[in-house]
């Protein structure tokens, strides 16, 4: 029996000129539609979903709003700091706040997070001091926090690798008989890496309590999602034997509900879930990138109407969950955060040169010891020369 993919209707037309067929794979369907879990519309209207419900207190709702606002403020500050030369690089999460805060707030303290390099909002939810995230972008370290303090692993730059670490960690959780869960973040581009497929295979075979959270922000640097897949990414999970779900990644309530459900499934011993958060990278890939080379302004503009923060604000206002005083206080808190981050970054000390030789090995190494000694002697020679 043939299993036709759900994309079968969109398959390329038959063509005797096969080159052209090869040039134009089917387009990935865009946004919304029945397959997208949504609980809060772009207009700020609360809707119900048959499979996912959520009931939050006013305080919780304000909390989510605050998380998103502060995360965005922090992100903007970091972008500014890069422009001012204080950071070498910054990877902005602008536009992805709902995906990150929604999923991040679904986690329990004992859950473990494996981020990429863009999960500043998740880090925020985990209680990682945002200034700690900046060390690697300033070039003073490769990751400035202790992963085990907040159960938040270091940022991983080699695309896709961390999905296997998450799977292994989850296998360990299961072995321990614990009911924690693990979440692995990755991007639409990352979905093409063999490591991610292997993570799907291992997690399914060992029934590991892991949630694969794919932020499909439509772009992998300059490449649109069509260069990675011709069907919606959430469908990838199915062929590995676990469920996939697409959620409106700009809807913080839906992201929270869907992630919570996936985490609970993991806790119950039912294994992995793939969550595809359908969102948009509003800014450049990083501060080194120039998106005008490859994408149209209109596309970005169309996503502005779906802004994750605006829609929640509308909802909070309409429901009377937050008033003007709340928003004003939050603005102030934002500025305080921005200032704190700015100052913290500017006062980060230049690392000592001898730090180069630290931590290459846990048990030490005769070779590194020798090189360290030579380097120290070499440096000392300048001191002697009075340089």
């Amino acid at each position: 029996m043939t299993v036709e993919s759900t994309a079968a209707a969109r398959k390329p037309r038959r063509s005797s000129k096969r080159t052209s067929a090869a040039k134009t794979p089917a387009k990935t369907p865009q946004s919304s539609g029945p397959e997208l879990v949504q609980l809060l519309t772009p207009e700020g209207e609360r809707i119900e979903h048959p499979d996912y419900s959520i009931d939050l207190t006013a305080e919780e709702l304000r909390g989510l709003y605050r998380d998103m606002v502060l995360t965005r403020r922090f992100d903007a500050e970091a972008t500014a700091l890069q422009r001012q030369g204080e950071l070498g690089l910054w990877a902005s999460l602008l536009g992805q706040e709902a995906a990150q805060i929604g999923s991040g707030r679904a986690l329990r303290d004992d859950d473990y997070v494996f981020p990429t390099y863009r999960e500043h909002g998740v880090a925020w939810c985990r209680g990682v001091d945002p200034t700690n995230l900046l060390g690697m972008f300033r070039g003073v370290n490769h990751g400035g926090w202790d992963p085990n303090t907040n159960n938040f692993h270091l940022y991983t730059i080699v695309i896709g690798s961390q999905t296997l670490h998450a799977t292994g960690y989850a296998m360990g959780v299961a072995k321990d008989g614990a009911d924690s869960a693990v979440i692995a973040y990755f991007g639409d581009g990352a979905s093409s890496q063999g490591d991610v497929a292997e993570a799907f295979t291992f997690s399914a075979v060992y029934n590991a309590p892991v949630v694969f959270f794919c932020q499909n922000n439509q772009w992998a640097i300059s490449e649109p999602t069509e260069k990675q897949t011709r069907v919606p990414l959430y469908q990838r999970a199915q062929g590995f034997g676990f469920p996939g779900v697409r959620v409106d990644g700009n809807d913080v309530l839906a992201c929270l509900a869907v992630t919570r459900s996936a985490l609970e499934r993991a806790r119950r011993g039912e294994g992995p879930t793939l969550v595809e958060a359908f969102t948009y990278r509003m800014g450049a890939h990083t501060t080194s990138d120039d998106p005008t080379k490859y994408r149209a302004d209109e596309e970005r503009a169309s996503w502005e109407a779906k802004d994750p923060i605006l829609r929640l604000r509308t909802y909070l206002e309409n429901e009377g969950v937050a008033d003007e005083a709340y928003f004003t206080a939050l603005d102030e808190e934002s500025e305080t955060l921005g200032k704190r981050v700015r100052e913290a970054v500017r006062s980060m000390p230049q690392p000592d040169r001898m730090a180069i030789f630290e931590h290459a090995y846990a048990d030490g190494s005769a070779l590194v010891d020798e090189e360290r000694a030579q380097f120290a002697a070499y440096q000392a020679s300048f001191a002697e020369e009075g340089k």
Binding site: T19, K23, G88, G135, I221, E223, K227, D289, K293, Y378
Partner: protein, 326 residues
Amino acid sequence: MAMEKMSIAKALNESLRKALDTDPKTLIMGEDVGKLGGVFRITDGLQKDFGEDRVIDTPLAESGIVGTAIGLALRGYRPIVEIQFDGFVFPAYDQIVTQLAKMHARSLGKIKLPVVVRIPYGGGIGAVEHHSESPEALFAHVAGLKVVSPSNASDAYWMMQQAVQSDDPVIFFEPKRRYWDKGEVDTESIPGGLHRASVARTGTDLTLVAYGPMVKVCLEAAAAAQEEGKSIEVVDLRSMSPIDFDAIQASVEKTRRLVVVHEAPVFYGSGAEIAARITERCFYHLEAPVLRVGGYHVPYPPARLEDEYLPGLDRVLDAVDRSLAY
């Protein structure tokens, strides 16, 4: 004669353009090589002019890129693959080492795989982790691969031409922090073989061997040493596999002293191979042991420490002095 001053980046771009122009079987493949022109803009404008069928944005999967390039080569194409940064070649390492490198031999010569793998490499650009590495030894040790690196615009232009024409797979390391250095390029006459070293500066007291980004450092060190009355010869290796030992030997038989400089860690690096072989060839000529200047046996440090880590003028001169002190 067509002399033109251009950057290494521009020379590579021109050379790739010429390759696409000359041979319809050449292809460019990689992440972001299309509209963006690659993160370093080396393929800038090429997709616009040659189309998406010739300049191909690939899925984000390096093993897939190299693996499908092998398949395209089997079909008669000549793919030029871009790996975005040195630190991201490793997912493709299996395809490169077990497949690309071996297929000519295992087919008893029936299959040729003219694939070029371009890798911007090395540090000095203030980047985050995995963006500043020098993994050339990990390829040079593998039989079946050729491994080269230009240090200047003319070599960038011509070595790329030669790499594309090579019927063997070539790992083409591009010195990313020199991309914007300019030099004269004569686009009409080939300066020399792909695997020949060249003497970048003549001298009589000591030989410095370097390649890629370190050639400039060595030339500066030689100039500085000149002021102290030391005459240093600088050999630009150009090819890390095979190595032009004859050229190094000729230089060392004259100068009797050799220092090898590279960014890659010294331990098991190319300097080891050069030191071992040249010592064997020039045992009675050498007045001093071959000294090596390079990276330490630690992961590449964060950007704010890279100037300490990278071999610079002073460390080269320090080694020169130590050699001359023998």
